[in-house]
């Protein structure tokens, strides 16, 4: 049997019917990786023997498969998660060779529920980027078109699932790093509410914005992964005690609900024509389901980009200070003083875009600039949050395209940082406001590249997002697979 295009749902029902065993599934995915990933460069580490051994151990428990919600599911993990015994480079030379001494809470919860880690996947260095071209280990390519980027920063996570190298994957999203690559690769990508999933064990980029989320082919799969890993963690003081619903149970109901979707027309200016058309078509589907579309005003979202590029780099400049060559990671060979040991280890080990953001953040926090930059940005962040609060008095969700364009060519936006940053204009405000955002595919452009739209929910409103997106998905029908996932890469 061929593996690669199955969903969690497919694999779980196959296991229950004993159509196949975990070791067969895992072998199938490992085979796909060895055959296809040379072109994609999505995996940074696979450990076939350990992984197969785990799968074989599960083979023996096949009778009890239904007890584990992720029994025998191959999951790819972005390389900025720590998983004990695995590497965690976060796409940076400064962490090459670093072996995780402990396991991230989110990953631990997936493993406890039967998931099998198929490998660690590539990403933009320290999750900074929108194209996966900032990885120290080379760019990742889009399985829909190898000349194009898969999006970023979780480009490896999206490419791996889109190419059939993992059933689902985990990524992190600080400004769009799950939703944008999900959209560019034709997948479902969720950025949960801030505090919904523990951040313990993910390499921090911007602590007040980072969240963990899944990539999957279907909304149901996304709901399944979230219900397993979400919830309070006593190792993360910013994690919420808000109860975690059984999201997949909520998707069983056949009663259709209708929703009011808010659209901010001003925000949508400058979107590619194909994307705009597909987005309008998606809105039509919601209307068909009895939904309403209302105009809303989010006057401060236009400042989201500037706000984000002060807050995120400021936090990053501090979060990344630990990579100094003293306790772990890359150490220069050419230092003549301890000051030089820090500066050279960092100068040589850290890549171009990350250095830019570290310097930006260092500047924004430095004496004399704090009030004008960091403090000001946080005040505007509050206004962006208030805009959404107000909008949610008029609608259930705010809806946008996920990205203003479909997958672009490698090298197309690398010269000008702002051009690249603009890929995230629809996703950034969601992180700033701490809200959940779900990207779902809604069509293909003229070049047969996937287009996605984003549903933005109220805080801890993931349940409603899943219900709405699941209903949409049923009307939309199965989304096409990338050529590579069909085995024609």
């Amino acid at each position: 049997m061929e593996f690669g295009t199955q969903t969690i749902w497919d694999l779980l029902s196959g296991y229950q019917k004993k159509q196949f065993k975990p070791s067969e599934v895992i072998s199938g995915y490992l085979k796909n990786i060895s055959e296809r990933d040379e072109k994609l460069n999505s995996f940074l580490q696979v450990r076939p023997e350990e992984t197969l051994a785990k799968a074989r151990a599960l083979d023996a428990k096949l009778d009890a498969a239904q007890n584990l919600p992720l029994f025998g599911i191959p999951v790819a993990i972005k390389d900025n998660f720590l998983v004990q015994g695995w590497q965690a480079t976060a796409g940076s030379k400064v962490l090459s060779g670093y072996v995780s001494p402990y396991t991230a809470t989110s990953v631990q919860r997936l493993e406890e529920m039967g998931a099998i880690i198929i490998g660690k996947v590539n990403c933009d260095e320290f999750a900074m980027g929108s194209s996966n071209e900032n990885s120290a280990f080379g760019p990742v390519r889009n399985p829909w078109d190898l000349e194009r980027v898969p999006g970023g920063s979780s480009g490896g996570s999206s490419a791996a699932v889109a190419a059939g190298l993992a059933t689902v994957s985990l990524g992190t999203d600080t400004g769009g790093s799950i939703r944008q690559p999900a959209s560019l690769c034709g997948l479902v990508g969720l950025k949960p509410s801030y505090g919904r999933v523990s951040r313990y064990g993910i390499v921090a980029y911007a602590s007040s914005l980072d969240q963990v989320g899944p990539f999957s082919r279907t909304v149901w799969d996304s709901a399944r992964v979230l219900e397993v890993m979400a919830g309070f963690d006593n190792k993360d003081a910013t994690s919420s005690k808000h109860p975690v619903p059984r999201y997949t149970e909520e998707l069983k109901s056949n009663t259709k609900r209708s929703f009011t979707l808010g659209v901010s027309r001003a925000w949508l200016e400058g979107v590619d024509l194909d994307v705009a058309k597909s987005f309008e078509a998606a809105l039509e589907v919601f209307k068909q389901m009895g939904g309403k579309i209302v105009d809303i005003d989010l006057p401060h979202t236009k400042y989201a980009l500037s706000t984000y590029y002060l807050i995120a780099p400021s936090e990053a400049s501090s979060n990344l200070a630990r990579y100094d060559g003293v306790h772990y990671g890359y150490r220069t060979q050419s230092a003549k003083s301890s000051e030089e040991l820090y500066s050279r280890s960092r100068g040589e080990g850290i890549g171009r875009e990350v250095k830019l953001r570290i310097m930006l953040g260092t500047y924004a926090l430095s004496a004399g600039y704090y009030d004008a930059f960091y403090l000001k940005a946080n005040q505007i962040r509050r206004k962006i949050q208030e805009d959404f609060e107000k909008a949610f008095t008029q609608c259930d969700f705010v809806v946008t395209p996920t990205s203003p364009s479909t997958a672009f060519k490698l090298g197309e936006k690398t010269d000008d940082p702002l051009k690249m940053y603009l890929s995230d204009i629809f996703t950034l405000p969601v992180n700033l406001a701490g809200l959940p955002g779900l990207s779902v595919s809604c069509g293909l452009d003229s070049k047969k590249l996937p287009i996605g739209f984003q549903l933005i929910g109220k805080p801890f409103g993931e349940r409603e997002l899943f219900i709405a997106a699941h209903q949409y998905e049923q009307i939309r029908g199965e989304f096409p697979l990338s050529s590579m996932a069909k085995g024609k890469g």
Binding site: N80, Y98, Y102, I202, K235, T238, E315, S317, R322, H327
Partner: protein
Amino acid sequence: MSLEKYEAVIGLEVHAQLMTASKMFCCCPNRYGSLPNTNICPVCTGQPGSLPVINKKAMELGVRAAIALSCEVHPESIFARKNYFYPDLPKGYQISQYERPYSTHGHIVVQLKTGEEKRIGITRIHFEEDAGKSNHESYGTLVNLNRAGVPLIEIVSEPDMRNAHEAGQYLRALHSILRYADICDGNMEEGNFRCDANISVRLRGADKFGTRVELKNINSFKFVEKAIEYEIQRQVFAVESGEKIIQQTRSWNSAKNITEVMREKEEAHDYRYFPEPDLPKLVFSLAWLDQIKKEMPELPQETSIRFKKSFELSDYDASVLTGSKELANYFESVVSHSKNGKASANWVMNELLGRLNAANKEVESSPVTAIQLADLICKIDSGEISGKIAKTVFEEMFATSKDASSIIKEKGFIQISDPIALESAICKVIENNPSQFAEYKAGKVKLLGFFVGQAMKETQGQANPALLNELVKKILDR
């Protein structure tokens, strides 16, 4: 040099380690002296992905300190990151408090040797985590992170002190309060109570501060006053000879008895403080603050007042006996067994403390236990031995840790209160001193003392002094 023309302005910053079981932000033991890098985990070694979680007990001890130092406690405060690079700071930042510390506006009242009291203001108290320890060897710097993440409070005083004695008294009072309230063990050798001083000098009456020098590493009471004294004189001398005081950090060299430059203040540090995004606001509920207040242990000043009342002690005695919690506890234990406050106070202060000082020992390791000392006092009060003999017995107790009874028995120190035995001793003295006896009889009554002394000698000091006095007079006048 005319020191009198000048006055010093001194402010102290004290770092006190909190007596918790675990570290400030992780579950590693807060323990001194383990093997290097054994009390460590992902959090306190700054591994990627690790996150801090606040230790509730550390907060409670911090609040206790604030209450003990009459500070305002803020129900809401904020942890901030202080960013700088140092080998023993694994995250590249220290979690501390900056713009909004949990406590401000306190004071303590200290006793000066002039007999006056002085109120010293406390600007703020904030929480922070300790750094690790760097040991510099010839081949390199060895970093041990056992101490990294240990909970501290930093207590910043107002620049209210004007000389070394005031600074010393402030530090002693602070030390005693923190130990009394079980906040900090106060062990300076282990670095659990550390002090930095900011010192400047100015002409008396001037309102502008002089350039200030930061004095670090004065980690012993012995050195605090000496070091500050030296630094004041150095600055006055410099000013007098027309030099400019340079803003710098100096340290006390206890071998040479001087302060030395540690580093010049290059460009000012830019710590790029900002609110710690990994932690929520620090919120103390009013109910919890009330509970901490209710459960406050007795503070030295309160103990002192109680001692004065219950045992009729002088201000001075009470202040000496509450100098440390251990001493106060020792004294209380002596009194509770001896039921004689004044005698207990005298014995503890004069005999015990004197000997402990000479032997360079703390009261906790006193060779004579409180119960042993109380027992000795009871023996005096019951007349079993004389006060004079008791001193000899005590000396022996201090040397051997034996009970008073066994020493009295061994050495035959029982007080002689038998009138017949005493009479025979007195008669013997009279026989041996006929001329003095004659003089006495002739009216030189002053000689009474002479006969008492001789008779005491005759009994090897074991005579009951009151009885002996009475009998000598009686026999002489017979």
